[in-house]
Symmetry: D2
Subunit: 251 residues, 4 copies
């Protein structure tokens, strides 16, 4: 059983994770984890911070001679812009964020304390954790792919393409979109949204290929695979809907 | 912290749940739980079994003099048609069900062993568990409402209605739909689907009203409210997508 | 992963357990569970209630044709003396019991609400859960034995005896003690304690034989076998010390 | 709910912990944590390594301006002697250690991979985690004290002393023993054991003072305080017995 906890704030000293249950004998490919971290930073229309971030993971624990030994894998990413103690208070809670609920829940005087943790920055350490999971997957020939299927009202058209083709095209797209024409329109509406000081929603499709049958179980509600996937994905701050198979299309 | 586990098969002796963490001093309203169980059985187009089911809960544990005492609440629903030992084997796994994966996972010779548990029948005990949760909610003035917003390609129109109005109309509809015209069309396509031996998907909206701020937390991924809701809802067999707020509309 | 929750009060309707993670294909031997329940009731000096208890388990869920099918096993034991609603209040919390803390924790007006759950009666359902675990053990040739090694200041002498010899002798002893001379003295001090309205402590030794290496792990504190055993054993109300190997002798 | 996971090997890069559930607004006193780490290193008869260790914690996450903000507290202790990759293999598993079971469990070719994690070194990060817990305790006036009550066959005599007196005396003893005469004898048998290449067992008493009633609960086996304490304490590698109250004395 693999489990993990993360820690870290947006402008604190860094981000950490303890990943328990990683099998022994796995080659710990730090370069791969760093590539995944870089991959996270690319993307048309990303904010300015992405350019200054050059995240590098340090695998602090769980390895000997470059291989895992069955003990917990401890990951550390230092923040380049550690300035949490100097940043101004945020007195006005922002709508659509955890600011207001967080301030009330933890009796804080300042939403800065909330937004430092309830931040997209946390996904950096999650990407590192996910990269370790991908290393385990590789041993079993399991492949994970994802691509952007829509931004705003522009939908990508990928009918007729196999997952490995989609993956190949999306991987070199600055929008991770496998439909080049759609990507052009997407860039335009992103530019427009930026000018208006607005943002855009979107959808992504994730496929995990070659997984063995029998993961999860129907035996107890909290062990169902669909539910566990939904929980994990919905725990990414910006995600507001999860669909398995044709769930949303049917809706 | 409230937690629960359920047990039980579709045609076994019955369904059970142990519900840990129910506060002391709560009036255990068995009649309310039974009303919720009856409410589950109503619905246009439901299968024949629904008519023979007359589920009644027995609150076996956790109460004294009709009130909870802080110890786990144990629920039991007897199956009226206990015949699991006489039912024929299911040798051909049905698509869209857990049959094939379950047979492989548990090394079973017969999909009957899978479908008896991976069955919509399990929702009966979940409704009973949920009814106890609703009793707790009531103490805090929290109300839960739900209604059908679409079946097949027919969408209900409820713009301009408040949640309590929607609830009132939906509650007396055999489709739990607050739009009477839409309901008419829904009944038609249900009838057609039945003739064709087919089924239809749909969407429901659930609203929990008057909840206090601060439930869940952004502090750790597995304690996020969105993720926990998504897991719980997606663990209902037929559910294939979950959306918070305008999640799907934006998609 | 095997996990379970129990529910039930001393004089409520009954005791329940949901046992999740039982593998499929296990013969569910109800007779064996009942024998374990009877074995629990035997014992020199036990209170009067033990004589009226004739516990019988009902395996409500998780089986088909007498074999487990991978779904949760639900157990039910009906209480013969269901009278919780008629029993008088307990206004004076008893020392050495959970009464006082329980009344304060759950804001109860009456310690009866506490002692009905914080009762040795709960061990009946635990014995049933343990019996299912023993059925699983049997498949792997794992054997569990236990015997009384001391009562009050009388110690049993079993040096030189193998575990299977100890087991055989202890099993037919009304004190579950493998030293017949010691047992005589134990009976005497038990009789004396009874006359004085007192009780006596004691120690038992439990051995699980033929377990495979590698259960538990040093990798994370909460997965260590010693700690998990200690938690499980210390969760039996009367147990106040747990020792692995020569732990207490060394102390 | 407070929970934590640790990571780290004896001669790896360092030790880490993620501590989830720390309330907001707590002054994070790093100096106090470091004092606790130094306190761990003191002790008559400790191995040579203790002298080179000068553990210092870095609170990487969970704080702003020196106070907790409700997000997970991440702790990091760098190992001064990071040399895991250069240390020789351990081909002969040592009795009384996790070596053999660990090698079998994780299919390792070398017990070094086991002993690096299954090491008393892990207690350093646990002391840091415990120090944060003590900071929380302080806010409620809860005090934790401990002292050595026996080493080998030498027992300390503290009858008639109050806990705060015992604490004061033990705190300045190099054996953390409140009986100066006993401590003299203990030093002698420690010296003798050292000469013989042997070690000695011992017992310690821990008291937590001024805790509020109602921690833990009898409601479910895995939430009982005694059991949870036993699990936590027994998860320290060298601990082989746990006793609550007069548990062992009665035995």
């Amino acid at each position: 059983m693999l489990r993990y906890m993360t820690a870290g704030e947006s402008h604190g000293k860094g981000l950490m994770a303890v990943l328990d249950g990683v099998p022994a004998g796995l080659k710990m490919d730090e370069e791969f984890i760093n590539k995944e971290l870089t991959r996270r930073m690319v993307g048309y229309g990303r904010g300015g911070r992405m350019k200054i971030e050059r995240d590098k993971v340090e695998v602090v624990t769980g390895i000997r001679g470059g291989f895992t030994i069955g003990s917990p894998v401890g990951l550390l990413i230092r923040n380049k812009d550690h300035k949490i103690d100097k940043l101004p208070d945020v007195k006005c809670p922002r709508p659509g964020h955890a600011d207001l609920a967080g301030v009330q829940k933890y009796a804080l005087g300042d939403a800065r304390d909330v937004l430092e943790r309830a931040s997209a920055r946390e996904t950096a350490i999650k990407v590192a954790v996910g990269a370790v999971a991908k290393l385990i997957f590789k041993e079993f020939g399991i492949d994970v792919m994802s691509h952007v299927t829509a931004i705003g009202n522009v939908e990508a058209e990928t009918d007729g393409l196999f997952f490995d083709e989609i993956k190949k095209i999306a991987e070199v797209s600055d929008l991770r979109c496998a439909d080049k024409n759609a990507a052009k329109s997407m860039r335009k509406i992103i530019d427009n949204a930026k000018i208006c000081g607005d943002t855009l929603g979107g959808t992504i499709e994730i496929a995990v290929l070659e997984i063995p049958p029998g993961l999860g179980t129907y035996a107890q509600w909290d062990r169902r695979l669909d539910g566990r996937i939904a929980r994990a994905v919905m725990a990414i701050p910006a995600v507001k809907a999860v669909s398995i198979g044709k769930g949303i299309e049917c809706a």
